[in-house]
């Protein structure tokens, strides 16, 4: 129903000289499939089978390949981002859920939750080159944009493990609020943002000193504290704002990335889980695990403009320009 100009995208489309053809990929945990969405038209284009229980998803820096953790197949599949055909597999270890690529896209770091390990994969050779022992139930994992650090968060140990990318060894461990879930670096690699599902908090750490700068406690009106379970976190390139998915609180928190004040809570779909920016960072896409849709947030307006039904248990999201 909503016209494109209402979305404030008209100008951008005109400047680009053509309609922006960006594509959003969403893994559907229960449907064993990948949803392909045109977010500008707000349409689900198609749904492609990808393997058993797909969860974590990432796109290569050249946007040619999608990497999808198909947990019940115990592998990470390589999918051609244009043809959507499977072109290979990576040896992820058992039950892969989350993983992170380095900026060059030649190394992948996979959390092996049941084995308390992080597996390092040489992407070109499709080989596991190292396993790093970490805490109990590692989940959230990220690589700093300057490729200095890999951070693995273990949910039951409540710890961040600082892995030096040069040696693939742990050089430091930081105890954080209970059940850390997701991590994100600022574009300048100076800050690490970490969500705690149990404490309902966002912790912001200085990456050099590895000391806590601030703990942000979320409290949205009309939502009990128990329901606020922060998961996905992303920060924009200019470090103006960060966005945190609050799980069963059905909201995305907008955090001022300079003052660390919570500016707003945006109501999205049910059990909001993971987040991804559009390439121009004008929109934010959220996967909503219980309402089976994605929400689109216009970041200039700071408003939810659309929700698109995608399939059962949408989990991860990746965007191709």
């Amino acid at each position: 129903m909503m016209k494109r100009n209402v979305l404030g995208l008209c100008l951008f489309a005109t400047l680009a000289g053509q309609v922006d053809a960006e594509t959003v990929f969403v893994t559907l945990e229960k449907d064993n499939a990948l949803a392909v969405v045109d977010p500008i038209d707000g349409k689900l284009l198609k749904t492609v089978p990808v393997g058993q229980r797909p969860r974590g998803i990432s796109i290569s820096p050249d946007y040619k390949y999608l990497y999808i953790a198909t947990s019940d197949d115990n592998t990470i599949k390589i999918i051609d981002a244009n043809s959507l055909k499977e072109v290979g597999k990576l040896p992820s270890g058992e039950d892969p859920e989350t993983f992170a690529l380095n900026p060059a896209g030649d190394r992948m770091y996979v959390s092996n939750e049941d084995d308390s390990m992080v597996t390092v994969i040489d992407v070109a050779k499709k080989k596991a080159i190292k396993q790093i022992k970490v805490g109990v139930e590692p989940e959230g994992i990220t690589v700093s944009p300057d490729n200095k650090w890999v951070i693995s968060a273990s949910e039951t140990t409540n710890m961040l493990h600082w892995i030096d990318t040069k040696t693939s060894d742990i050089t430091d461990n930081t105890l954080v609020d209970p059940r850390p879930r997701a991590l994100g670096f600022t574009a300048d690699s100076r800050q690490l943002w970490v969500t705690s599902e149990m404490a309902g908090t966002l912790m912001i750490l200085d990456a050099n000193t590895r000391q806590l700068l601030k703990t942000v406690k979320f409290a949205a009106q009309g939502v009990t504290a128990d329901k606020i379970q922060p998961v996905g976190v992303v920060i924009d390139k200019e470090r103006k704002r960060g966005y945190v998915a609050l799980g069963p609180a059905n909201r995305v928190a907008v955090v001022n990335a300079q003052t660390f004040e919570v500016e707003k809570y945006l109501l999205v779909g049910q059990r909001v889980w993971n987040l991804a920016f559009s390439p121009d960072q004008k929109r934010l896409y959220t996967t909503n695990g219980v309402s089976n849709d994605i929400s689109i947030i216009d970041l200039d307006e700071q408003k939810v403009t659309k929700s698109i039904a995608v399939g059962t248990y949408p989990w991860g999201v990746a965007v191709k320009p």
Binding site: E113, D114, S116, K133, G135, V136, E137, S154, E155, T156, T157, N158, M159, H161, I170, T171, D172, N173, T174, L175, V176, D177, P178, R179, S196, M198, A199, T201, M203, L205, R210, Q211, L212, T215, K217, T224, A225, D226, Q229
Partner: protein, 400 residues
Amino acid sequence: MRSINLFFQLIVKFLLLTQLVTAGTVYAASSKAKQIINIAYLTQEQAPPAALSNLDPFIKDKGLPGAELGVADNNTTGQFTNQQFVLKAFIVPLDGNIIETFDKNIAGHYQFVVANLPAAELQKLADLPSAKPTVLFDVATTDDELRNGQCRSNVLHLLPSRAMRADALAQYMMKKRWSKWFLVVGPNPEDRLYADAIKRAAKRFGMKVVAEKAWEHTFDARRTAQSDVAVFTQVDDYDVLVVADEQGLFGEYLDYRTWLSRPVIGTQGLIATGWHKTHEQWGAVQMQNRFKDKVGRWMEEQDYGAYLAARAIGEAATRTKSNEFKPVKDYLVSDQFALQGYKGNPLSFRSWDGQLRQPVLLSAPRSQVAVAPIEGFLHPKTELDTLGYDQPESQCQWSK
């Protein structure tokens, strides 16, 4: 409904919490000597009870594998914090003496004791002068009395009390509008206690026990249940049959055999429990898998309790960087303590009676029906405190 007092406490606790968040402590990988945290596990061998059917084998070691897994998890953390957790199990033979074992092997050597013992034995242990400087982690009892008039300051209770279980069932029945209950009580003193908790819950949530009967038929009813139960259940109309049969002597025979077509809840049918094999939300499936891979059977409630006990010690020792009694115990019962228990909410100990506050699972044999607190039951502090004895109702005196 709630006193103003509670509201003030809430505000004070919130202020404390915001000040005391201790995240961000940095642990450097270092080579100095490890700090050792010793944990004892104390239980007594059990005689296998009479089998109701041949389906469920008797499990001899309920509890211990949970403590072992918890300690293993602690040690995975410990490799980064330079702490080592050591578990020693003391299993008293059937004809052995628990108190003697405690005095001889545990007192003076261990300050953290995971106790998988019946209520009477636990009380005797807690009252020993030699047990004063210890924390006893009770992973077996559900007695409300041990959390009220007979509470002891050196005991923490890991499993939900009978009152918490009954309240969980009552909340769900209220949601279903099944307000007329037919209570069937077994022959053991524990069954009577369970029935008392059910009656308390009925009153609390505005339900009515419209009929109550004691089961007096045979306890090996494999052949006669069809006729016995039909006759036994001819009472005035009711919505749901609530059975109090903790040992499982006859409860399983009620379902599908009642005179009227009514569901069975309580100790059989739809049960209220701390842990169940059908539970898989909030990462529980990982826990179930890890336990099954290690032990070769499903995790039972006592295993879960013992796992949580070990993890609670681990969490407190890690956060306080201590292996000493006072800081660890203080942290355990503080507002900062938050334990991840695979049930969505962070778990913590109630300051007024040492009960672990936690969601209660409502489980059918092969599916999870609900998790209490049921949505809509509100509380000014945490909805978890809608289950069991809340602070104003508690008769426990030790914290005052």
